[in-house]
């Protein structure tokens, strides 16, 4: 009897097991190809992700030295292996061809074959995209005025090709979904130049903004109603390519109306322009508050008003005797993972008042964790008296 069963081979399959009728019996056997089959894994997923996967909108991303993540169009998930001590017999659907030729033999009871014993399965845990790497990659080779104005690019280009990334290169290297990658590029003020995603170097941004402001005065334009065509034309005459000029409008302005006489209208955003000048002034280090404010107000274009609260999350102040010093410390230059972020924040200052800390932590996102929970996890909150301001220090 034993030998008989041994030679039955694989006839039925998963459908026979799942469709087994009450009061029926079938045999379960090892498949003729039974093995460890390390190339077969199980992945547990939410029902709502099934269509994404079946429509081939999902990729697994990561370098050999990184833990792989699974990306849908909009989200990033870590892959966790969960082992089991149970025996999980995997039964594939039947091989139709084999089934038919065995059907003639009506003496046998149906057999379903086990192809593999699964040691466990992979599970998905939503995680934040790894956008710090994007920041790092783009910072390797910022687009500069020298490169932009260099017309003879033929052989120089070869040399400068390091640190240049196309969309596909970034998708290969950065563990983020396409949507997260796109908004990451936007947040970094990156622009696609000749097929490569670049950030513009500070000096170049400063030049083009100053040129734009100069053109505004020269042509008697209004900050609130800049005609896109006119701006691009003027900047192009000044030597700035159209895509860079457009980028400048996007970085420092917002589109207001679609069409006035067939052209888009833009408004320069006071805060963004003012912050730019504050950053330029503080580039060389700490300054006395009075000196900084005087210079800032002087530098900001006429018609715009610099006010210190615009600099929330951009600068910090410290007391030195009776002086107040101000220095550049931008949230945009800090890591986006909470542990690293708080590490740097508490290196900068041992104790933070909430009003100072808030601008530096409000952008932190951890899937499944509220902002309060993040604070609770990484900081110690003390409140000397009931009505005193809470103070946050390292855990």
């Amino acid at each position: 009897m034993d030998m008989e069963h041994r030679r039955l081979g694989s006839t039925g399959g998963a459908e026979a097991v799942l469709g087994l009728q009450p009061n029926s019996t079938m045999s379960i056997a090892y498949h003729s190809l039974f093995d460890s089959h390390n190339d077969i894994t199980l992945l547990e997923i939410d029902e709502k992700l099934v269509p994404d996967i079946l429509q081939q909108r999902v990729t697994i991303r990561g370098q050999p030295d990184e833990d792989a993540v699974l990306c849908t169009q909009s989200k990033t998930y870590a892959l966790k292996f969960v082992g089991t001590s149970n025996s999980v017999f995997l039964i594939p659907p039947s091989d139709k061809a084999v089934e038919e030729c065995n059907e003639k033999d009506d003496m046998t009871i149906p057999v379903a074959s086990v192809i593999k014993v699964a040691p466990g399965s992979m599970e998905l845990v939503e995680v934040a995209p790894k956008l710090d790497k994007l920041k790092f990659l783009l910072s390797q080779n910022p687009y500069s005025f020298v490169e932009a104005s260099d017309m003879d690019i033929s052989h120089e280009r070869e040399k400068m090709n390091t640190g240049l990334y196309r969309w596909d290169d970034l998708a290969d290297k950065v563990q983020a979904s396409n949507e997260e990658l796109r908004s990451g590029l936007q947040a970094l003020l990156a622009v696609e130049i000749d097929g490569y995603w670049r950030v513009l170097d500070d000096k170049y941004m400063d030049m083009i903004l100053n040129m734009l402001l100069h053109d505004v005065i020269l042509n008697d334009w209004s900050f609130n109603a800049l005609n896109e065509d006119e701006v691009l034309r003027a900047l192009e005459t000044d030597g700035f390519p159209c895509n860079i000029a457009m980028h400048c409008l996007k970085v420092y302005g917002n589109k207001v109306e679609e069409h006035i006489g067939g052209s888009c209208m833009w408004r320069l955003e006071e805060r963004r322009v003012c912050v730019h000048f504050a950053r330029e002034i503080l580039k060389n280090g700490k300054m006395k508050m009075e000196t900084f404010m005087a210079e800032w107000i002087r530098k900001v274009p006429d018609g715009m008003h610099a006010s210190f609260d615009m600099l929330e999350g951009e600068v910090l102040t410290e007391k030195l005797g009776i002086e107040t010093l101000v220095y550049y410390f931008s949230v945009s230059s800090l890591p986006s993972t909470p542990a690293e972020r708080f590490n740097i924040l508490f290196q900068e200052r041992q104790k933070w008042e909430w009003k100072d800390l808030q601008p530096y932590v409000r952008d932190l996102r951890v899937p499944g964790l509220s902002s309060e929970a993040i604070l609770l996890k990484y900081t110690r909150r003390t409140q000397p008296t009931v009505d005193a301001e809470p103070v946050f220090s390292a855990r």
Partner: protein, 138 residues
Amino acid sequence: MQIQVKCSCGEGDCPEWAILELQGTVEAQPSFQNSLQNLQIGILCRQSQENYTFSVGYHELTGTKVKLKKPMLVLKKIKLQNEEEMGERDVNSLRVELDVIGIIRHKILFKTRPKALISKPQPAVKEKVTQPSSTVPN
């Protein structure tokens, strides 16, 4: 590096696989241990609407069909052997795809300990179920 997750079965047409799950492990007799292929593990019987039994050697397990809380995909790693590229590229850049070859929505779960089948003695015990923990009732 990106690994595309594909499904060559076409949407909505992904074949359903089945899982038979039991506690502990099934051990074949030493003489079979290296040639499990085609060997019978046991007999699955649906005794009623709800109840399933799985008889392995002298032992009988009782269980039920369970719908998984979340479906599981069966993924198969496919190495793409592009011969033209292979010459230039090193092993690290060997392209890999994951093919969804099946989906699992149900399993037949035996979570009880095995019951000894004393009424049906067989001369040769082909396989036995071993439990992680000590005694077997009956």
